[in-house]
């Protein structure tokens, strides 16, 4: 049964994941439609990063199902590389390659993974740098860039693969307050262009603006979810209310 764009781009069903004796994900289920933007919030240690890592098969799941464009991730025969070409991921610590310039960071995967033409890739890398407002930083090494600039290069690097969905794991958590905004603006533009996004964040104002749906997780379960307007106003569960009162 082939996947068509009217079906959810990502379908997560009853996902369980343990590290040793610790069950980190205890039955997570939700869908993400194409061009939908969802935010996942919750206290640290609740399994948000693990969930994102499961989606692009950096971490294998124990039980349940994750379908990405109709492809089952929880399958021993899964072509992980094919999956990861469709799923971009940006990390809290940027994880740029420090021995390569900004432009080279962006070009590496399209050149060596997708084996695309160098001239084409170079032109796209420049366009992407411009898109994340880093024109002129082509030849800067990550060590020469601020945290916010590095994070925007990391976003451009993921976009260079032309992914169908982007995963953002607390991408502003390590940034100075002044540079948080420039990164959030970049993500919002992406969302407005119709990129499917799963965003783990502690920036509630941003989540409220950008997300179509918000999921609150605690200790491996989704406690509560809803569209932002409802979620922030009518949260019922005491855990959600406590979390929101701490963070807002």
């Amino acid at each position: 049964m082939a996947w068509t764009p009217d079906q959810p781009l990502i379908q997560i069903k009853d996902v369980h994941k343990s590290f040793g004796a610790v069950e980190v994900l205890k039955g997570i289920s939700f869908d993400v439609a194409k061009s939908e933007v969802i935010c996942v919030i919750g206290p640290s240690g609740s399994g948000k990063s693990t969930l994102l890592r499961c989606i692009n098969a950096l971490v294998p799941i124990d039980r349940g199902s994750i379908m990405v464009e109709g492809q089952e991730v929880h399958d021993p025969k899964l072509d992980k590389l094919a999956l990861r070409r469709k799923v971009g991921m940006v990390f809290q610590q940027y994880n740029l390659f420090p021995h390569r310039t900004a432009q080279q960071n962006i070009m590496m995967a399209p050149l060596h993974v997708l084996k695309q033409d160098r001239h084409e890739v170079e032109a796209r890398a420049r366009r992407l740098l411009k898109k994340v407002r880093l024109e002129g930083k082509e030849n800067a090494y990550p060590g020469e860039l601020s945290g916010g600039q590095q994070q925007r290069v990391a976003i451009a690097r993921s976009l260079a693969m032309n992914p169908d969905v982007m995963l953002f794991d607390e991408v502003t958590a390590a940034l100075d307050p002044e540079t948080v905004k420039e990164v959030l603006v970049t993500i919002r533009e992406l969302a407005e262009e119709g990129m499917t996004c799963i965003i783990v964040t502690h920036e509630m104002g941003f989540a409220r603006e950008v997300a179509g749906h918000i999921y609150f997780t605690d200790r491996g379960v989704i406690v509560e979810h809803g569209p932002p307007a409802e979620f922030f106003v009518k949260a019922r569960d005491p855990r959600t209310r406590q979390f929101l009162s701490q963070i807002l």
Partner: protein, 292 residues
Amino acid sequence: MTPAPRPEQARCDLAVVLPLSPALDPARNGGARWPLFHGYRGLAGIALLILAFALTQAHAQTGPGALSIIATIWKWTPLMASGFVLNVVISFLAMAIGTVLGTFLGLAQISQLRPLRAVSWFVTQFFRNAPWLVLLFYAMLLLPFQLQIGGVAIALPDWLKATFGLSLPVMANMSELVRGAIQSIAYGQWESAESLAFTRWQTLRMVILPQCVKRMLPPWMNLYAILVVGTPLCSIVGVNEAMTLTSNALAAEANHALLVPMYLYLLAWFFLYCYPIARWTVALERRFAIKG
């Protein structure tokens, strides 16, 4: 003043390849207090000191014979130099062989195949903890005097066998260097490369190893310097390198007064060869520490 250990130093658990001890590192003791240890002028100073000491030794033993001792040493210098060339050749070759084999062994140590990991770990530990001299003896005993490759007989002279023997501990130390360097790279580098759909091998080749080279260079150079001062071990197994030839010269002269100055002269050769490498290593470490 006890400076904090540098990260490279902390990460590398090879006693053999630690950088110069802090006490001897002029940069951190404010150079001026140890002017003799500073740069090439200091190098010449130390060489002169050694020579002067050699001469006073000679003088104390033979009175006015000092000049004749210098003349004798000078007479044997070409022979000693020819031996020293062999020490350098052996060190180069052993280093090259050990580096190549050690790199593969180090990569095998982080392989995803458990048996390969276990075997390479064992080989590494075995050769790393074996006395070099014992390995040399084994190399001399076990290697044939010639190799038959496709009907062509390639002679294996003693010095070449000794070179293979010395390349084994180099290989083992290199293996640990490679493994340690790879494991010192932040895990996020692996994760981000993997999430960009790099294969494991691509990640190693394009992301991890290039970052390792910089980290490994200073300890690798240290390893080389230690290998060089280890090459006179070959004299014990009968290779005509500098140490053997110096001993031969001494035997021919049969003059006790020559013993100390001749060997000091030989020490000076090694010192002049190795000390710049050590200085260069320290300089590289400092530069990498700044650039991150």
